[in-house]
Amino acid sequence: MLERRSRTRFLRRIGNVAHHIFSWVTFLFLLTPLLIVIPISFSGGSYLSFPPESYSTRWYETYFAQDSWIDATILSLQVGVVATVISVAVGFLFALGITRGLRKWGPALEKVALAPMIVPSIVYSVSMYSLFSRLGLVGNWFGIALAHAILCLPFVVIVLTASLREYDIDQETAAMGLGASRLTAIRRITIPQIRPSLLSAAFLAFITSFDELVVAMFLSGTFGTLPKKMFDNIRLQIDPTIAAVSVMEILMVILVMAVLMRLNRANVGRLS
């Protein structure tokens, strides 16, 4: 008996250690490429090399000094925000339709909403190009935003359907029974409670648009979004500016996620 118990204990400990090792290896595998970018961005040389021979902040200066970088960044932010607003608005209505009312068509609609994630982006880009060229939307920032909104839709729909399925619909019903219209009930009762999911959905949508390259290449004319500018930069000169840009992007994501976690924690504190 005793022997068996100690053997079980031993095996369990081995399993624990293996699990830890596996987790850390995965973690490093995912994170190392991101970490390597940081020293490169502070390189003193004019080529991408690791480890850098000398250190400087000149590539950050290059970024801020060149109008083409700043313009691309502003354009990406603009496209990202508009795509986020459109995809969250449409995706929320979509998720409402899937989770209630459309009992028969809900599952089919859900699959349709996920299609942009499954269709190869090159196929999507070509078809968008041929459609938008007829509508005069190629070379127009709003065209990119529109195309991005559709690419963002699956993420929004996944997050919001999950959250609406968990939400107790009786609350909305109760609000209507207490004198609210359906719209007021959704605005005052439903939305405040799924706010964490709405924020994550918006964040996912924004990131999807902000680093999207293929659609942007097809639909932007003479100008370009930040990913397109980075891509052009790699093709033409390969200097560490893109490393500097990458580091700033990573910082932005970390910042936004921190803010989101903060907001959600404040929410959880009140709700659960």
Binding site: Q171, T173, L178
Partner: protein, 359 residues
């Protein structure tokens, strides 16, 4: 139109089907001002569908719902001025208790200050005056229940609907909440429709009970009418314990299939009869009962269970029928399994079941 006796709620010929399932088949129901009416039924009996149609969360396939004489069949839930307490309370977790109770007043565009005053008064009436600033999750189940109740009555609805509100509470709390709700209801004169599957709760609280089954109202009446004069086996077995006899009526007599002879208080032509277990008396007799005599039988105790205030015996008549008997438990007057006793029942307690359509 301001007749005192006018029905607050008048439901006429309501039908509702879901696909091929007939959830409600021609429901007629009138509820008078100040009345406490219970819809009693098992799950799937249609009581929840009926409640949702009255509340305005569902629309009937045909029929009419009138509230205070106005046709409300197609009115939205918001227009109906109905207060409802949901089974899970459906309190808004992101609002404080006070904000929850203020919500219906806000929807009626009442100024914030007046709304807060009225909400506080409503919370006081359910003894939760000091909990206004808390969030619902910080309250116990019973307290959440009271908040839901305050929220449902704060805007002085013409009708209060309670959808199995006590099902999540433990027995002791449920009993005190039943009393409290009943007191509040009668002191405010609130016309109330209460839904439950618990027959005891229905008997305790209601002015009238509508027993529902299979999408129809099987019987409607006061608790005493439902208990003492059920019209069918389904009502008799749903409300209280029952012994059912099938047989042949003959004037004021009823001959069970086994041959047992009962004499009744009035002539009948029903071929089913009910005897409540507590209406039967067991005694030790010196002379054995004559098998031809009505309402007196020789019976053998099969088993017994002691339930505190009373004892439930299962006995077999000499004629073969098995009967359950509920007797007040007096120490020393407890019968043993195997003992042969005399069983008597008064003619008035042999109750014919009049409704032959519903078995």
């Amino acid at each position: 139109m301001t007749n005192e006796n006018q029905a607050v709620l008048d439901v006429q010929k309501i039908r509702k089907t879901y696909g091929r399932v007939e959830a409600l088949r021609e429901i007629d129901l009138r509820v008078a001002a100040g009345e406490f009416l219970t819809l009693l039924g098992a799950s799937g009996s249609g009581k929840t569908t009926l409640l949702r149609i009255i509340a305005g969360f569902e629309t009937p396939d045909s029929g009419r719902v009138s509230i205070r004489g106005a046709d409300m069949t197609w009115a939205s839930a918001a227009e109906r001025q109905i207060g409802m307490v949901f089974q899970n309370y459906a309190l808004f977790p992101h609002l404080t208790v006070l904000e929850n109770v203020m919500f219906p007043l806000e929807m009626r565009r009442i100024t914030r200050r007046a709304a807060a005053d009225r909400a506080r008064a409503a919370l006081d009436s359910v003894h939760l005056g000091v909990f206004g600033d808390r969030y619902p999750r910080q309250l116990s189940g019973g307290q959440q229940q009271r908040v839901a109740l305050a929220r449902a009555i704060v805007f002085e609805p013409s009708l209060l609907l309670l959808d199995e509100p006590f099902s999540a509470l433990d027995r002791r709390l449920r009993e005190s909440m039943q009393q409290e709700v009943k007191q509040l209801q009668s002191s405010l004169g609130l016309t109330t429709i209460f839904i439950t599957h618990d027959q005891e709760e229905a008997l305790v609280m209601s002015d009238r009970i509508a027993v529902m089954g299979g999408g129809a109202i099987r019987q409607i009446g006061t608790p005493a009418e439902i208990y003492y004069h059920p019209n069918s086996i389904s009502v008799a077995t749903f409300v209280g314990e029952s012994n059912i006899f099938e047989g042949v009526p003959k004037g004021r007599s009823f001959y069970a299939a086994s041959g047992a002879h009962f004499s009744l208080a009035a002539p009948t032509d029903c071929n089913r009869m009910l005897i409540r277990p507590e209406a039967i008396t067991l005694s030790r007799a010196s002379v054995p009962a004559d098998p031809r005599e009505a309402n007196v039988f020789a019976a053998q105790v099969l088993d017994r269970s002691f339930v505190g205030g009373f004892t439930v015996y299962r006995v077999r008549l000499a004629q073969g029928d098995e009967v359950s008997v509920r007797a007040i438990a007096r120490e020393g007057a407890i019968f043993q399994p195997g003992e042969t006793l005399q069983l008597t029942v008064a003619p008035a307690d042999c109750r014919p079941l009049t409704d032959r359509s519903a078995a």
